[in-house]
Amino acid sequence: MTVATTAFLSLARSTMESIGLADMAFVEVPHPMGMVSLADIRAKADQSFAEILQKAVQWKPSRTEIPGLGKPPYPAERIKFRGTYESLNKMFYEKRWSLGLPVIPPAPEAVAEMLKGTSRQPSEVVWVVPPRMGQLTVELVATLGVMAGCKPEHMPLLLAMIKAISHPHFDWRGSSTTTAPTTPVIVINGPILDELGIGYSTGALGGEQPVNIALGYFVNLVGDIVGGSMPPDPDKSTLGSREDLVAIVIGENEKQNPWKQSYAVDLGFKPTDNVVTAYSAYMGTNNTDHTSVKGTQLLNTLSLGAAAVACGITSCFTQYEKPYAIDNRVKFVFLFLAPEHADTIYKDFPNKRAVQEYVVKKAVAPYWSYAPEICTVPKEFGPYDENTMIPRFTKPEQVHIVVTGGPGKQSQVWPPFTTVFKPVSVLVEK
């Protein structure tokens, strides 16, 4: 039996169905439960207790089977439609086959052309996408790629992105149904950047990057259409963000990386490897430091962002190797360093390890700034009070460094969603 509030009962029901239960006993409590007084929450328990007792012994399922199961994943259904391009898009939106923006119609001929970009069988199921548990075949990767504006040569990259975001460490289900504004962040390294024209210089995270945008649009089409995660249910985003339309896809500016070693090479890949790294992120923050001339000065302001971003959900003394727990949240951070900022840091920190160690040391916040119950200070830290500065991280590996963007003194700090274990890196296989 599950107790859920009025606002989240539908999410609880869809979760129930996606794990294979046709029905179960729910007790509905007036929203909210969180952030109310102890007296109020006890009163809610008093009010619902009779229903708990009743449903514990008298509840019967309203159905015993989940409808719509058993259909083969391949080939996908072909639809005939008579109308204008505008009415076709309207039909797609009404069927929850688009995000509301116009899409390129996935005609069978266009999808067949996309499939020429891979040697994988179109019938292969590459992911069962939660929470809807839609079966994503290679054919549908091509279909959604067409809709997003991708090209056949993007197919290996699309498949690599799917491999990364479907990894358990990413927690797709949690990321796509949470109330928080989360977005997939996908970092690309390797020769594929120039081969495909992936943006990594001026405005790399902005709008006028047709390849990055098409790739990011594809990711969100997969999540919302095959995964079925659209607001208001089961995507419970309180506000959401515009990244719900187009996921963050960014290349590393390897040519202007002063350390002469890319992020992927840091992870153990070869410089000639094409690598996709993905994690689910809370919204990032910008660092606009125009005046620091020393690496330490700039890292001080970046560390402030690393400590404060995703405020309210971050834990102190986070342990990278340990899974998410109530007091081990938001365990790493990505620094997207503009080349000029990277140069400034490099002058004082000729190796990246020293940068990571410095940020771990400087990413601290006063104890009072951590939300109740999620910062557990270890005994060996010693005495502390409300104003004691408490570290966010414990290991250099928790700080990920990517050089990206064009000229200017702007960098960004992007934290992970709370339940993410680690970023996932995979090779792009041609």
């Binding site: 039996m1 599950t2 509030t5 989240f8 996606s18 794990i19 294979g20 239960l21 046709a22 029905d23 179960m24 439960m33 969180g34 952030m35 102890l38 929450i41 006890r42 328990a45 008093d46 207790f49 708990i52 514990a56 012994v57 089977e65 989940i66 199961l69 083969p72 994943p73 996908a76 639809i79 005939k80 439609f81 008579r82 109308g83 391009y85 076709l88 929850r96 119609p105 996935p106 005609a107 069978p108 996408v129 809807r132 548990m133 839609g134 079966q135 994503l136 549908l140 279909t143 959604l144 809709m147 358990p168 460490h169 927690d171 949690g174 095959v226 899974p323 998410y324 727990a325 109530i326």
Partner: protein, 134 residues
């Protein structure tokens, strides 16, 4: 007419014809056509599971209370435990969130869900009451 003026008239006429020949964006009428498209949604793959048998009574049963870490869920369940002790004294009530802190979380993965489920199963629960959120 001087040659220069002839050219001017020619180009003015050409531009006018060109403009008139273009469809007005505001009044554009799209062509109705036959489309064939692929349904992008994918068929659903869910392995149905059989629910646990229903209980006829809570008398003498083991009731496990599970909290996922969301604010106040424990306080709600604490009160439920008090009421159960009062109204159903023969039942054994176990607050798994007090017994095993590692269960106090949103699982974040199927593997972690399975681990938490096993912790609860090992308590030989007859019924589990979980509190969600928010």
């Amino acid at each position: 007419m001087p040659k220069k003026n002839v050219l001017r008239v020619f180009w003015a006429a050409a531009i006018l014809v060109g403009l008139l020949g273009l469809p007005s964006p505001a009044g554009a009428k799209e062509q109705v056509q036959e489309w064939e498209v692929i349904n992008p949604s994918g068929t659903i793959s869910i392995q149905p599971i059989k629910p646990a048998p229903r209980l006829a009574s809570l008398e003498g049963k083991t009731i496990v209370l599970r909290w996922n870490g969301k604010h106040n869920g424990n306080n709600y369940l604490d009160r439920v435990a008090e009421l159960l002790a009062e109204k159903m004294p023969s039942a054994k009530v176990i607050k798994v969130y007090d017994l095993d802190k590692s269960t106090v979380k949103i699982s974040g993965s199927n593997a972690e869900s399975a681990r938490i489920a096993k912790v609860i199963k090992d308590l030989k629960a007859d019924i589990v009451i979980g509190s969600q959120a928010d």
